[in-house]
């Protein structure tokens, strides 16, 4: 069974060359695999361990520690709502309630069509333009007065 693709292995090897120990590239390897597949399966964990001379248990310990490594399938677009203090002061609860209502899901869930997964996230470092959220790699700011119609229009950009 081939656990990682040639392309994944090539990208991992490129990162590995930046460190004096191969295992240091574990987080990069997890991110590379996730970029290609959307999430990190048990097979992928084993494949990374083999490539970096580590053990599946050690790689899984790392994978489960970091907020942005997904060990379960997620939707095509992950919506991360900042729920830290500045966003909370500026009305994050209203924003996350609106998202939950429009998407029909709670934190940690994926819409039935596999389009969106909703998760909370730590401070996004854009507190002067709170509340904020991340959809994929895009940071959306100044959402204090976002209503259902504006949210729907925003989500339309993520088919």
């Amino acid at each position: 069974m081939k656990m990682l693709t040639e392309e994944e292995n090539r990208e991992i090897d490129r990162e590995r060359a930046h460190y004096e120990q191969p295992r240091a590239a574990t987080i990069e390897a997890l991110k590379i695999v996730q970029k290609h597949r959307g999430w990190v399966s048990d097979d992928a964990v084993a494949g990374i361990a083999a490539r970096l001379g580590s053990s599946p248990a050690a790689v899984d310990a790392v994978a489960t520690f970091y907020n942005l490594i997904y060990r379960r399938p997620v939707g095509r677009h992950v919506v991360h709502v900042c729920d830290s203090v500045s966003c909370w002061v500026m009305g994050q609860t209203k924003l996350s309630d609106l998202l939950k209502a429009r998407l029909g899901i709670d934190y940690g869930q994926t819409t039935p069509d596999g389009r969106f997964t909703l998760l909370p996230i730590c401070c996004l470092g854009t507190c002067d333009r709170a509340p904020a959220m991340l959809i994929g790699e895009d940071t959306h700011r100044d959402l204090e007065t976002l209503d259902a119609a504006a949210l729907d229009a925003l989500l339309e950009r993520y088919p």
Binding site: I69, V85, D128
Partner: protein, 426 residues
């Protein structure tokens, strides 16, 4: 431009352009001249210059940068310089500006730090969510390399410095320097016991210096314009400028480079435009989530390390979070402690168990189900999670807003007790 650059060295360049400061623009405004000077100096002379400037760590600790550098042993082994760009302290959004808009300034600062300690390899450790910063830093590294400001034999000096970008996968504790090293080695971001300090045994067991992004961005200017000029930028004894920020219900939230020691009042009222109509300021966390509340009676304090420490808080990252009179203090604290509970690495018991307990007690109070003994329990948490009781500074940091809220805003806690509980107590 040169006047502005003399007064606001870190941001004048980026404020003069819409997008990123390119290598050409950076060079036009004196960029890499600090490194050129450093390449002709001895490591000791570079460190002496940074010491005279009085530069202190801008990530929250305030540790003197030159002291950190001078702790690196003078031995011929592999050494490392790491830029801590894991900006995840809630309420903090200053390093993002420097990373996205002027990445060469950081690269130059890192190369000078590398020269000062004899490091040949460096890493920019960047939080996962800063995608734009990752693109800009990565492009700037390639440009600097092509122009001979990174790589082998910088500008014919014989000194080599190779720089790599590492993007993280999201965990607040990575900002703690020993946890950052654990993470960069490809493990869970668990803090390490000190000593040995990273300066002696850091990344892969080798001497390592970890500095905050803003700290490193100060370095080129000190080398280029000198320690006297740098000290003169400040309104107090502590050198330089500071990137201050304000978030919360003010008219113009934002981030500004101002003289070190600018008062909280000036930052909030002049730069942030004061509170929104109809709102009053009750208190503020001066430098991120893990700093003690100050109140409206402390607005005239100069925002520097010494003055804020004397007043019972910490300058932290210098980015303030404001509490107004219509925002629930208990809700804000519950939010803060929930964050710290979620981001505990789980290594030591007081932090792993104490923080969720704290968040739960605050949640009960916020919901009107508090019992009179909960106030004493919360006060006890602040003692059980005090410095020295836990493995790292995460939980003690989490206690700072709570202990100061219990001191300054006691009435909010008492008012939140369940009516039945108050009846019983009476």
């Amino acid at each position: 431009m040169s006047d502005a650059l003399n007064q606001r060295p870190l941001t004048a360049r980026l404020l003069a352009t819409d997008g990123v400061v390119t290598l050409d623009r950076y060079r036009e405004a004196g960029g890499y001249e600090g490194l050129r000077a450093a390449l002709a100096m001895s490591p000791e002379a570079i460190i002496a210059s940074v010491r005279e400037a009085g530069l202190r760590g801008r990530g929250g600790g305030g540790f003197p940068t030159a002291v950190k550098w001078s702790l690196v042993p003078d031995t011929p082994v592999q050494k490392y310089v790491i830029a801590n760009g894991d900006e995840m302290e809630p309420g903090t959004f200053k390093d993002r500006l420097l990373l996205e808009r002027d990445p060469h300034q950081l690269i130059e600062g890192m190369a000078i730090a590398a020269r000062a300690i004899g490091a040949s390899v460096g890493y920019v450790f960047l939080r996962a969510e800063y995608f734009e910063a990752a693109r800009q830093v990565s492009a700037a590294i390639a440009d600097a390399q092509a122009a001979g400001w990174l790589g082998d034999d910088l500008q014919g000096s014989g000194f080599s410095f190779h720089l790599h970008l590492h993007t993280s996968a999201g965990r607040y504790i990575c900002g703690e320097e020993t946890a950052l090293i654990s993470s960069l080695e490809g493990g869970r971001a668990i803090p390490r016991a000190k000593p040995p300090f990273p300066a002696v045994a850091g990344l892969f067991g080798k001497p390592t210096v970890v500095n905050n992004i803003e700290t490193l961005c100060n370095v080129p200017h000190i080398l280029r314009l000198g320690a006297d000029w740098y000290r003169g930028l400040s309104r107090t004894d502590e050198g330089g400028t500071k990137l201050y920020g304000v978030s919360g219900k003010v008219r113009r939230p934002g981030c500004w480079e101002l003289p070190m020691g600018t008062t909280a009042r000036e930052i909030i009222e002049t730069h942030a435009g004061g509170m929104r109509d109809g709102l009053k300021l009750r208190g503020f966390l001066p430098g991120g989530a893990s700093t003690d509340f100050l109140t409206d009676a402390q607005l005239d304090l100069p925002m520097d390390y010494t003055h804020i420490a004397k007043s019972g808080s910490r300058l932290g990252t210098g980015t303030m979070i404001l509490l107004d009179d219509r925002t629930s203090l208990l809700g804000m604290l519950r939010n803060l402690e929930t964050f710290f509970a979620r981001e505990s690495c789980g290594w030591c018991t007081p932090c792993r168990d104490g923080l969720p307990w704290t968040a739960k007690l605050l949640g009960e109070l916020e919901a009107g189900r508090g019992r009179p003994e909960d106030l004493e329990l919360l006060a006890r948490q602040t003692r059980l999670l005090a410095p020295g009781r836990t493995f790292c500074a995460h939980a003690p940091g989490a206690m700072e807003p709570l202990q100061s809220a219990l001191k300054h805003f006691r009435e909010d806690f008492e008012r939140a007790l369940a009516p039945a509980a108050i009846g019983e107590a009476a």
